[in-house]
């Protein structure tokens, strides 16, 4: 073949090759890639299914665990946000004491601080949750049994509280006089504990 026939033949061959290559690129290659992806996915799914079936799955158990945890977390959030202000806290203490025929002589805020994280407090970051710890002193008098019940109800009354100390002394008759120091832990709002707004409410 000479140059006159070689050139069109070469062009024709090139066009056919390009068309075939294009057909391969746009049909077979994506189909092959899709098949490889599907096989990988199937392999991954098979492994996951085998592992899942081998782990003795119990959806009911998982649901119970989740339900228990939700209850616990919401209770914790409720306790940490029980009273927004100190005045409301004192009012609640007064109300509980009155219900037990206990007389409150004095309620006194002693200190207020922010709870720092762990031993390395320099690492406290801006995204650390803000937890305030307020210490109070309460002086009261009443009968021993009522005081015992009053002290037992303190955590439920004031939210999340830690009794630091108390002192009870016998008074006249069956009266007992006492002082109590406790620390109340609070967070500004529930989202500190339950970040997801959809789960923050008790109905979630």
């Amino acid at each position: 073949m000479n140059d006159h026939t070689l050139r069109p033949a070469a062009i024709r061959t090139l066009i056919v090759c390009v068309l075939l290559a294009a057909a391969w690129i746009f049909t077979v290659k994506p189909a092959r890639a899709d098949l490889d992806d599907q096989r990988r996915l199937y392999s991954t799914q098979s492994a996951a299914v085998s592992a899942y079936l081998g782990s003795d799955p119990d959806e009911e158990r998982t649901r119970r665990t989740q339900s228990n945890l939700e209850s616990r977390v919401h209770a914790f959030a409720d306790a940490m946000t029980a009273h927004a202000t100190t005045a409301a806290l004192f009012e609640q203490i007064e109300r509980k004491a009155s219900a037990r025929s206990i007389r409150i002589h004095r309620t006194d805020p002693r200190s207020s601080s922010r709870v720092q994280s762990g031993p390395d407090r320099r690492r406290a970051a801006s995204d650390e949750p803000v937890i305030t710890a307020d210490e109070f002193l309460v002086e009261f008098s009443g009968r021993y049994g009522d005081i015992t019940d009053f002290i037992a109800e303190i955590p439920d009354t004031v939210g999340l509280a830690q009794i630091n100390s108390f002192r009870l002394t016998r008074g006249a008759g069956d009266q007992v006089r006492g002082t109590l120091t406790l620390t109340v832990y609070r967070v500004p709002d529930r989202t500190t504990i339950i970040p997801d707004p959809a789960e923050a409410s008790d109905d979630a």
Binding site: M1, Y52, E59, T62, Y185, P195
Partner: protein, 552 residues
């Protein structure tokens, strides 16, 4: 068959163009168109353009369809060289050698080819080869002419080559021991001598019945250029050589005979010289068979006999042959079509290139179709495999849905426990240990009685844990019973799970006004720590933190 290209055999001679549609070696339809023989040379000089119209007319009669007919052209060559060689070796070697020989003799501007005619007699391993060549310029003109008229050229065969082929076949298939045959064509004649065992002699020379018909034409119409150009030919084949004929007027005979005699003389000389120099004297054939269309000329055999001094016979089937009809039995083109034997052919470079191009295009198309089929097959295979996976995925669906729900639940648990746990952990770390104060107060109340009373309870959380200090007294009728009451209180407190250790401090004795003994005491109780309600959340955060630190 619809769309199948028609195969047409054409003959081109100075006085006419003949054509026939050939299917499977059978002549289906034949036509001819007369042309002006005096314009033959001029037509060649003009690239055969004057013959375009006649050819188109002929083709339209033969093949009215739109398909491009494939053409085999037997043509009267102006400059063709026809040779026969005896060459030893294989058939292919002999053919190649003959091609080289004629190419060397013809120069660089020729198109050459060769074909084996048959074995050479009495020379084992030797072949008689027909070699022919023509000027490339002429073959290109023929190719261009045929292409211009919408045909597709397959083969170009000079008339002489076709006559040689016919003559050689006649000798090789003859029943006699040795046969000498003279095949007279329109423009060329061939003498072949041989038998079934092989050929002894093959020689072509430029003499045909057209020379005789031209003489008749000139003798009948010496000055009439517009006269029927085929009249002389018809008269030649109708009345023959008029040496003794009484059917022709004496005037005409008187004009013809002087003109025919030298032509006939030349023909006889060619025969005699060919046999004399081609065949040894002791092997000279005694009989010569006239064959081909020229053999049908009446009285030709008798005219030749007188001159060559041999027995002259006309081949069977040549008597009264209708050589004036295109492709009729007796014509050389009819014999060539019927023979269907391998003939040397001249293929112009353009045709070669066209053939190569066609072959390449076919190969390319086949390759493309094959590749496309492979691509399609692979695509179908892949799609099939993909489809096979679908039911397997469906089998996993239920389990995967359960797994997905499980993972969502775990993620929700982790999310819930994560934030709450961090807060709980910090509260726990900040608050430190604690005791179950209400239970401790209840324990103290349980141990208070008329013999034991507690005057002061002082509870606090120290660095070592929660503890409570009690101040009180026990009463007895005497000191021993008061001590026993104290011991009883201590033992009761010590027995409680709320108390981990008990330390009895100072004790003092005293006596009441009614003489009962009193023991004043101080007790320090170390208490068991209690777990706050949020402790599990803090424990979770602690474990999660530890796991995170261990993760690289």
């Amino acid at each position: 068959m619809i769309g199948t290209p028609t195969r047409i055999v054409l003959t081109l001679t100075p006085d006419r163009i003949r054509g026939a549609v050939v299917r499977a070696g059978r002549i289906v339809r034949a036509e001819q168109i007369e042309t002006d023989p005096t314009a033959w040379e001029q037509a060649w000089e003009q690239g055969l353009v004057p013959l375009d119209r006649p050819l188109r007319q002929l083709l339209s009669r033969l093949s009215p369809g739109r398909s491009q007919p494939r053409i085999t052209l037997l043509y009267h060559a102006r400059n063709a060289i026809v040779q026969s060689h005896e060459i030893a070796g294989s058939r292919d070697d002999a053919r190649r050698a003959a091609t080289v020989k004629i190419r060397e003799s013809g120069g660089s501007i020729v198109i050459a080819d060769a074909a084996i005619l048959g074995p050479t007699a009495e020379k084992p391993g030797t072949w008689t080869v027909l070699a022919l060549a023509d000027r490339e310029d002429d073959t290109n003109k023929l190719y261009a002419w045929l292409t211009r008229c919408g045909t597709r050229v397959e083969r170009l065969i000079p008339e002489a080559a076709a006559i040689v082929r016919i003559a050689a076949d006649r000798v090789l298939t003859a029943e006699n021991e040795t046969t000498a045959c003279c095949c007279i064509g329109p423009g060329w004649s061939v003498i072949a001598v041989g038998s079934r065992d092989g050929l002894r002699l093959v020689r072509a020379f430029e003499f045909g019945h057209r020379l005789l018909s031209d003489v008749f034409q000139r003798a009948i119409r010496p000055d009439d250029a517009e006269a029927d150009q085929a009249l002389g030919e018809r008269m030649l084949f109708d009345h023959g050589l008029p040496f003794k004929s009484t059917e022709i007027s004496p005037e005409v005979r008187a004009r013809i005979l002087p003109m025919v005699a030298p032509v006939l003389q030349r023909f006889c000389v060619e025969i005699k010289q060919t046999l004399r120099f081609g065949i040894p004297a002791d092997q000279q054939p005694s009989t010569l068979i006239l064959d081909g269309p020229g053999a049908a000329i009446p009285y030709l055999a008798s005219a030749v006999t007188d001159t060559v001094n041999m027995h002259i016979r006309v081949a069977p089937g040549c008597d009264g042959a209708g050589v004036l009809k295109p492709f009729a039995p007796g014509t050389f083109e009819y014999a060539w079509v019927r023979a269907e034997t391998d003939t040397a052919e001249l293929i112009p470079h353009a045709v070669m290139e066209q053939k190569q191009s066609d072959t390449f295009r076919r190969c390319l198309a086949a390759g493309a179709i094959g590749a496309a089929a492979l691509l399609g097959a692979e695509y179908v295979h892949i799609t099939g495999q993909n489809r096979e996976l679908e039911p397997r995925f469906a089998q996993h669906a239920t389990t995967l849905a359960a797994l997905s729900r499980e993972e969502e639940a775990r993620e929700r648990i982790n999310r819930l426990a994560g934030a709450a746990g961090r807060v709980a952990l910090r509260v726990t770390e900040s608050a430190g240990p604690s005791a179950d104060w209400p239970a401790v107060l209840a324990l103290i109340a349980e141990n208070a009685s008329e013999h034991a009373r507690f005057d002061e309870i002082d509870a606090q959380v120290t660095a070592t844990g929660p503890e409570i200090r009690l101040k009180g007294s026990t009463v007895g009728t005497d000191d021993t019973s008061a001590a026993a009451a104290l011991t009883e209180v201590v033992q009761a407190l010590q027995a409680s799970p709320l108390v981990t250790a008990i330390n009895l401090g100072s004790t003092t004795r005293d006596t009441l006004a009614d003489d009962r003994a009193v023991r004043h005491f101080q007790l320090t109780l170390r208490l068991a720590t209690s777990q706050a309600a949020h402790q599990p959340l803090a424990d979770y955060a602690r474990r999660a933190g530890a796991a995170k630190e261990q993760t690289p």
